[in-house]
């Protein structure tokens, strides 16, 4: 059994990829399912081709010639047999390739024919976070958030992709393939989740120092939950009621934070960094870098470059007694 264990480990390795909150093989939407199915078809067809070729190679290593045969001598019958075999092999390769191309075309057609969805988002890639705007016909219902997208289950959601600085790529493998966000262009992508759940996405195009920490979450939930979330997000931040958090708010509004961040309902109106109106309701801060806890918020404020070296957020000078109220205030922005 001892010997079998590592072997089992290796054999089951591929299966590990079938689960995960950022896995192409753990499909949670129609597009990702189609892609995963297609992937396995390709793997089995191409795997067979590889096995057959290797079998032919291994068989070819047998010695068929006498030791001192003239290397220039060829037997016309063998030549003819090999020519025929190779022609058949090439014919089969061609058929395989054409078949797979057809399959790919069909999937491509299905994948990129966008259905009309109820919901349209504008996602803007920035160094190194995602700005997310929920569009609506009524201007009062348009709102902006960051790094966390909520979608209703079972409904196609159209995502318009733009980039404000360099090229990024929007990729939530459990739901669908990736699409680049390119400055000066707008791309579109449709996502749909079949089941409620939390799916992770990450920038897939190298975009500078913190490309590694440019994650996002997609939270698929029932229609009612989604609507409740949306109407809450549209609303402004609720002013804090206890003295410590009020002190935190004062700190926030008196420091350079407001130059970049917005908290709707306060004087903080900066738009170059993530909107913090409901930052406490989001599960991660720093674009999928740290879980949203009071301690992590404090750590992030005190030393953003320790957590995410090179990030655009500057280190702000804070008095020791200012950190705790500020973190509590931000945590409370549910």
């Amino acid at each position: 059994m001892k010997r079998v264990a590592p072997l089992l480990f290796i054999v089951t390795l591929p299966l590990a990829g079938c689960q995960g909150w950022q896995s192409a093989l753990d499909a949670q939407g129609p597009a990702a399912s189609a892609l995963a199915g297609m992937f396995w078809i390709f793997v089995s067809v191409l795997g067979t081709v590889w096995l057959l070729t290797m079998a032919a190679l291994l068989l070819s290593l047998r010695r068929r010639r006498p030791a001192h045969a003239d290397p220039l001598a060829t037997d016309p019958r063998t030549e003819r047999r090999m020519t025929i075999t190779i022609s058949i092999a090439i014919g089969l390769t061609l058929v395989t390739v054409i078949g797979l191309t057809g399959l790919s075309y069909a999937a491509q057609k299905a994948l990129f024919s966008h259905k009309d969805g109820a919901l349209t988002l504008m996602v803007t890639g920035q160094q190194w976070w995602w700005k997310i705007t929920y569009e609506d016909e009524q201007p009062s219902r348009v709102f902006t958030t960051a790094n966390e997208i909520h979608i209703p289950v079972g409904e196609p959601v159209l995502i318009k992709l733009e980039a404000s600085d360099v090229i990024h790529s929007f990729w939530v493998p459990n739901l669908t393939g990736k699409m680049d966000a390119i400055p000066g262009r707008q791309n579109q992508l449709q996502i749909q989740a079949d089941r409620p759940g939390v799916y992770r996405g990450q920038c897939a195009e190298f975009c500078g120092l913190q490309h590694a920490h440019m994650g996002m979450l997609i939270i698929a939930e029932a229609k009612d939950d989604f609507e409740r979330w949306r109407s809450h997000q549209i609303s402004s931040a609720i002013p804090p009621d206890d003295p410590e958090r009020q002190r935190g708010m004062e700190v926030f509004l008196s420091k350079p934070c407001v130059m970049c961040h917005q908290v709707r309902g306060t004087d903080a109106g900066g738009k170059v960094a993530p909107d913090l109106t409901h930052v406490g309701s989001r599960r991660y801060i720093g674009a999928g870098t740290l879980e949203t806890t009071r301690g992590n918020i404090a750590a992030w404020i005190i030393d953003p470059h320790g957590v995410k070296p090179g990030v655009n957020m500057p280190t702000i000078q804070l008095e020791p007694d200012e950190v705790q109220p500020l973190a509590r205030y931000l945590e409370g922005l549910k």
């Binding site: 590990a16 990829g17 995960g20 950022q22 896995s23 192409a24 093989l25 990702a32 892609l35 297609m38 992937f39 390709f42 191409l46 795997g47 070729t53 290797m54 032919a56 190679l57 070819s60 290593l61 010695r63 068929r64 010639r65 030791a67 045969a69 003239d70 290397p71 220039l72 060829t74 063998t78 090999m82 075999t85 190779i86 090439i90 390769t93 390739v97 797979l100 191309t101 790919s104 999937a107 491509q108 994948l111 360099v166 090229i167 990729w171 493998p173 669908t176 390119i182 400055p183 000066g184 262009r185 791309n187 990450q202 920038c203 195009e205 190298f206 500078g208 490309h211 590694a212 070296p309």
Partner: protein, 670 residues
């Protein structure tokens, strides 16, 4: 070993009669330079024989001692050896940078290197492997072997060839010195705009990258031109197109691909430099430029680049398979046509690197078809090699082992490439570790394994000594297993969502075990190269003497001494068969009549390989080296100021004037 040509063999190649006998030949009624009567005062190689001929020719063709002599040499073997060694040093440097990256990724949130150094490391790794190793190594082997294999004494345009080596050396040196000074480029080997543009990459890092491109491309194109002309015009008499060795064919097609592909990337990097240095807005969308234009230009070169790396390897594989199968290549014509088809098709695939940029679907689907289609010529080659082995008597020496490893790895990589050709599948795996796994299977499988085989195979020719077979087998076992341990898990890591070019990842992503396995594999894989290096160094000093033809191979390079004399051959061979040494086991037919005192070569016709002219080839000269120094000053200066083009041009012009100054005594008058 050599004998004068007999009348019987003259029937096979009647056109050599002129050189052999002084009679008229060639196209009736057309007078050619070769018909010119020889200067009676000049010593010709039919007037001396044996050791005296060898010694006199060696003196005529030799490289002088001393620093000036070393820097002036135009001997393709000396330049080729330097090229090979330099490219392999870059292979090790690229490998070392990979080892550091793998150590950083061994566990989540590792703090061995930070994002800044990591970004430099993967940029240096990619740049070094693609531009300083991948392209030059194929050309390096061509510089050394093509003149030997086509039976001539030097490469065409030998001074251009020398110049190209120095430009390559200086360019590679520049980027690595920049890296050592912590101003190494950090924008990826592809340096996409706008990230590499003036706004998001201030400082000189991206300029270093872009200018390194200029260096390597100038040198790459120069060598490619030399090789094309060598193959077309300097072949031994009788080497018709269908007698050209497969290795030479591969290098010829490769050179054409280089000539047509590299200008695109030079355009891209020159535009980038202009955006950065003189404020043009070619790639700036805010001013009406286009970021995607850069990608088109880059990949129009970038995909052929993959074949620039792979095509020479097909030549190594063909040579090794034929020699160790003890059978001439099966499907020679099919193999050559596949090479040509690969060369053409390689220019029609570039968009599959851009499937996720939101291009029109119809256009993208065209590139799906063309990318799938390239499986056909590659399939034909694989099948023909297997057929050659099938009908042969394989001898399992180290070179063949590495070629067998090549089959296993390259075919797997080629097949995963078919997945990437599909637009929808690519949208999932593009820019993930799946792609990293794929192209390492293709490039290490398709280039490095054959390369190692080629080094084991031609090492006796280069040095006169055999490499250790025992170490070679260990090396193969270690390299083959550790390669797969390192790179196979990356397919899964990529499917599990790990993007490329990330310096770290969160523990909750679940990628830690697979990454650790890859790191262990990578370390052992690097260890196998250390063993390889030891084998090279110890065998070069103590290996058993090889003799001219230790593998009993059939192509012309094995007719020369090991290592070859400066003149390559005392008398130019006459080729009557694709494998001349197998067709003429006792003695190779030769032509006589070339000057012993001058660097005289036979220029032959393109298709029939009919001897056409006797022409002198340039003497050694220090000017190509000086021109390369002037070029380097100009290129490096132009990273800092556009005025470098003004003050940098006169020294270069001066060097070129020196280079092309007519030499009255030896070259043109006689």
């Amino acid at each position: 070993m050599t004998k004068a040509i007999t009348p019987h063999e003259l029937d096979a190649v009647p056109e050599v009669t002129r050189l052999a006998t002084g009679e008229r030949g060639g196209v009736p009624g057309v007078k050619s330079e070769a018909d010119r009567p020889a200067d009676p005062h000049e010593l010709r190689d039919d007037q001396v024989d044996g050791p005296e001929l060898t010694a006199r020719l060696a003196r005529t063709w030799g490289t002088e001692k001393g620093l000036i002599g070393v820097l002036s040499t135009v001997d393709h073997k000396v330049i080729g050896r330097r090229y090979i060694i330099t490219a392999i040093i870059f292979l090790f440097l690229g490998g070392l940078s990979a080892v550091v990256m793998r150590l950083q990724l061994a566990q989540p949130e590792n703090s061995l290197v930070g994002p800044d150094l990591y970004n430099q490391l993967f940029t240096m790794h990619g740049t070094t492997m693609m531009f300083l190793f991948g392209v030059p190594i194929g050309e390096a082997f061509a510089v050394y072997l093509v003149p030997l294999m086509v039976g001539t004494r030097n490469i065409a345009f030998p001074r251009l060839n020398a110049f190209s080596y120095y430009v390559y050396l200086f360019g590679g040196f520049m980027i690595w010195v920049a890296f050592m000074l912590n101003i190494g480029p950090d924008v990826g080997w592809f340096a996409y705009v706008p990230l590499s543009g003036p706004e998001f990459s201030p400082g000189k890092r991206a300029d270093v990258w872009a200018q390194m491109i200029t260096f390597t491309e100038v040198s790459g194109i120069a060598v490619a031109i030399s090789i094309v002309v060598t193959v077309f015009k300097l072949r031994a008499p009788g080497m018709t197109l269908d007698r050209i060795p497969l290795f030479v064919w591969a290098e010829l097609i490769n050179s054409f691909v280089i000539i047509f592909a590299l200008p695109a990337v030079v355009t891209a990097s020159a535009f980038l430099l202009m955006d950065r240095l003189v404020g043009t807005h070619i790639f700036n969308p805010a001013e009406g430029g286009d970021a995607l234009l850069y990608q088109h230009l880059f990949w129009f070169f970038g995909h052929p680049e993959v074949y620039i790396i792979f095509l020479p390897a097909t030549g190594w594989v063909s040579a090794i398979v034929v020699t160790f199968a003890r059978r001439q290549a099966f499907g020679y014509i099919a193999l050559v046509l596949s090479l040509i088809a690969t060369g053409f098709l390689s220019f029609g695939l570039w968009v599959h690197h851009m499937f996720t940029t939101g291009l029109p679907q119809l256009g993208a689907s065209f590139f799906t078809a063309s990318s799938m289609l390239i499986a056909i010529p590659n399939g034909i080659q694989i099948f023909c090699w297997i057929a050659t082995l099938w009908d042969g008597r394989p001898v399992f020496r180290t070179p063949l082992l590495f070629v067998i490893g090549f089959f296993f790895i390259f075919v797997a990589g080629g097949l995963s490439g078919i997945m990437l050709a599909s637009v929808p599948l690519d949208s999932q795996v593009h820019d993930t570790f799946f792609v990293v796994a794929h192209f390492h299977y293709v490039l290490i499988g398709g280039n490095v394994f054959p390369l190692i085989g080629a080094i084991y195979y031609w090492f006796p020719k280069f040095t006169g000594r055999m490499m250790s077979e025992r170490l070679g087998k260990w090396h193969f076992g270690l390299a083959f297993i550790s390669f797969n341990v390192a790179f196979f898990p990356m397919h899964i890591t990529g499917l599990m969502g790990m993007p490329r070019r990330v310096y770290t990842y969160l523990p909750e992503m679940g990628w830690a075990n697979l990454n650790l396995i890859s790191t262990i594999g990578a370390l052992v894989f690097f260890g196998s190269f250390v063993l390889f290096l030891y084998n090279i160094l110890s065998s070069a000093r103590r290996g058993p003497l090889a003799g001219p033809n230790p593998w009993n191979a059939g192509t012309l390079e094995w007719a020369s001494a090991s290592p070859p004399m400066p003149q390559n051959f005392d008398r130019i061979p006459v080729v009557t068969n694709r494998e001349p040494l197998w067709a003429h086991r006792e003695a190779l037919p030769v032509v006589a009549g070339l000057s012993v005192e001058n660097r005289e070569q036979i220029v032959s016709t393109v298709t029939a390989g009919r001897a056409d002219l006797r022409e002198t080839t340039p003497e050694p000269s220090i000017w190509p080296f000086l021109a390369a120094v002037a070029t380097t000053i100009l290129f490096i200066g132009s990273m800092f100021t556009p005025w470098a083009f003004v003050w940098g041009t006169p020294p270069l012009a001066l060097a070129l004037i020196g280079w092309f100054w007519p030499k009255p005594s030896t070259e043109d008058e006689r």
